[in-house]
């Protein structure tokens, strides 16, 4: 009489098949999560740039007056910043927009207050912000995202 039932070879083969199948399933799930993560990072990067560009344009447009907007070097900050000067009840208030430690930041300082980069609020995550004022014409700026995408912008001053 033949002995029926499983042998060790069959068992090993079956286990190998199961392991292969499991590995294939796991790799599919891992690659899907990797694809999702990559997609999310790209969306986040582009969203931050959009926020930064939109914010800068809106800020300029809401403060477009003669001799109100200037570009200055700021202590403790690598790149130049945008200074918007407003006079309220005889006192000068400066809104300073600058890039510091990976973020586009905005801070409000009174005339007698010293500028401090930490006394500001983060607006958007950026790698770099290059600002250049073209005399009597406008402000040329470039926003560089964390992933290295660069976008230029320009805002025209009021013509004289």
């Amino acid at each position: 009489m033949k002995r029926r039932g499983s042998s060790s070879t069959e068992f090993i083969l079956t286990m190998l098949l199961l392991i292969l199948f499991s590995l294939a399933t796991i790799s599919l799930v891992v690659s899907a999560s990797g694809a999702y993560r990559g997609s999310e990072e790209t969306i986040e990067d582009e969203s931050q740039i959009r926020v930064a560009q939109s914010y800068l344009y809106t800020k300029f447009r809401q403060n477009m007056e003669v001799n109100r907007i200037s570009v200055e070097s700021l202590p403790g900050v690598e790149e130049k910043g945008i200074v918007i000067t407003d006079t309220v009840l005889g006192e000068d208030i400066k809104t300073i927009i600058f890039h510091h430690e990976g973020y586009l930041r905005e801070g409000v300082f009174l005339s007698n207050t010293e500028f401090n980069p930490t006394s500001s609020y983060p607006i958007a995550s950026l790698e770099k912000l290059n600002i250049n004022m073209i005399e009597n014409k406008g402000i040329d700026f470039e926003t560089i995202s964390v992933e290295g995408k660069s976008f230029k912008g320009f805002i025209a001053f009021i013509p004289k």
Partner: protein
């Protein structure tokens, strides 16, 4: 106890779980991409709306310059009268600098731009002092009705 010992269908459970995870990731990817696209569209519409409004301002400034160029006006008061007659919404004020003209332009979406321009007393040209977008006031979706409190007793 028999059911727990029976390992048939274990691969199907694995398949279902894997399939569920894939579905979740793909739906999340599409929904976040769609949300981002809606934001991009909103930004584009916002920008388009702003430049349409700025176009109205440019046309207004052109009309003011044309007034100085074409009309036979002797003094600044005549210019002010002509402008008030043609545009009732303008606000004119005379200061030491000259004639200050303030006008607010509004778009259909509720956005506003304020134009402030000055004509000196020599009537050489209109100089723009301010061309600012006025922020839209924040409004609650559902207004809260405040009423007097009833005092009982």
């Amino acid at each position: 106890m028999t059911k727990l010992k029976n390992r048939k269908g274990s691969t199907s459970i694995l398949i279902i779980l894997a399939f569920l995870m894939l579905i979740i990731f793909s739906v999340l990817a599409i929904s976040s991409a769609s949300a981002d696209y809606r934001l991009a569209q909103r930004n584009a519409n916002w920008t388009r709306d702003y430049y349409h409004l700025e176009g109205l301002v440019a046309e207004y400034r052109y009309q003011l310059d044309l007034l100085l160029y074409n009309e036979n006006v002797i003094n600044i008061d005549q210019i002010a009268d002509i402008i008030r007659e043609r545009d009732p919404e303008v606000f004119i004020e005379f200061t030491m600098e000259g004639m200050n003209l303030i006008r607010i332009f509004e778009s259909d979406g509720g956005r506003r731009i304020l134009l402030r321009t000055v004509l000196d007393y020599q009537m050489e040209s209109f100089k723009v002092i301010s061309l600012r977008e006025i922020p839209i006031e924040f409004q609650y979706k559902y207004e809260i009705q405040f009423e007097d409190v009833e005092v009982r007793g």
